[in-house]
Symmetry: C2
Subunit: 191 residues, 2 copies
């Protein structure tokens, strides 16, 4: 069992609708030592992929994307969530539906920062239905950038977004894979 | 001239209304090496203040707050911006008006993560009118936590928020202090 799985068991809180809150170390209060270790593990996995950019989405992906970027020595870009007005030709645009919040966000990345020479590692804190990943992959496709893979903190395997994207041939590396919730207990895939 | 000032001169873009965009290294694409160095300089300045928590506000303060937290070996908390609905008794609440966006945000921090034993270093990327700092200081006051100081990336000195808070006795340490914009040129306070 890794550091992240231990912290999830010790401090994660399960809410109705299969929602896991990890606000004490990942999503509101952040443990910088844990986040650094998570970034290092993701970077180690993709070390030989010649990654040129880390891409994530605001807000809670920023910390883990930053520590991954530091380990790989490449810039990190966070896609911005907007309300859709004043959209200019200078940005790539995609749309992400959040099943947790039941809202759609428009996400943008400035065209200056992604191009056809880029090999992109997408990093995010959570992977459930995969909507955020698909939105970021859509932006990479628009930029003609290559997606080298995806590094994830916590994957809810039972929501199947990750496996659907793996079936398309992408390397998705998740530090903690939750198989299911059993009453108030988290059951990892490797148990 | 420090690393950050050099990057501002090389890549910063000035827009009408005294807006400085630093999207290529700080606010959209992030240079992890620069951000680490910025965090280290802020941490060095406050090294002897026995800081127990770093507090910032989403989104663009997260990166610099995280690297500062890592250097000081303490947790980082980012205040969440909400639309004000479903506010519970379990969070501290304050309000921040953005002069750039002409909108008011409600910001919250969960009461679990700040208390009267905390010595808080507030960290943010920009300081202009000081509204974000005042909102975070208000939350610290509600939590009866001590504010040990504020570490800032870029301060627009001419918007005077920083000096007003300094007059109250707070130590505000800014890595780059902009005295004014001269046509398309940034003029730093120390020039």
């Amino acid at each position: 069992m890794n550091l992240l799985e231990n912290r999830i068991l010790a401090e994660g809180k399960i809410f109705p609708g299969n929602i896991l809150k990890v606000d004490s170390f990942l999503n509101h209060q952040i443990d910088p030592i844990l986040i650094k270790q998570m970034g290092k593990e993701i970077a180690d996995h993709f070390m030989n992929k010649e990654v040129t950019k880390i891409v994530t989405i605001e807000t809670s992906g920023i910390a883990i994307a930053l520590t991954t970027a530091f380990e790989l020595g490449v810039p990190m870009i966070f896609a911005k969530k907007t309300k859709g007005q004043n959209m200019s030709d200078s940005v790539y645009v995609s749309h992400v539906f959040s099943y947790t919040k039941k809202t759609e966000s428009t996400i943008t990345i400035d065209k200056q920062y992604l191009n056809s020479k880029d090999k992109v590692l997408i990093v995010d804190d959570f992977l459930a239905t995969g909507q955020a990943l698909l939105g970021l992959m859509d932006i990479c496709t628009q930029a003609k950038a290559e997606v080298s893979g995806c590094g994830i903190g916590i994957e809810k395997v039972f929501q199947s977004g990750g496996n659907k994207i793996r079936e398309k041939g992408y390397d998705i590396y998740s530090l903690a894979k939750i198989n299911h919730f059993e009453k108030d207990r988290v059951v990892f895939e490797n148990e």
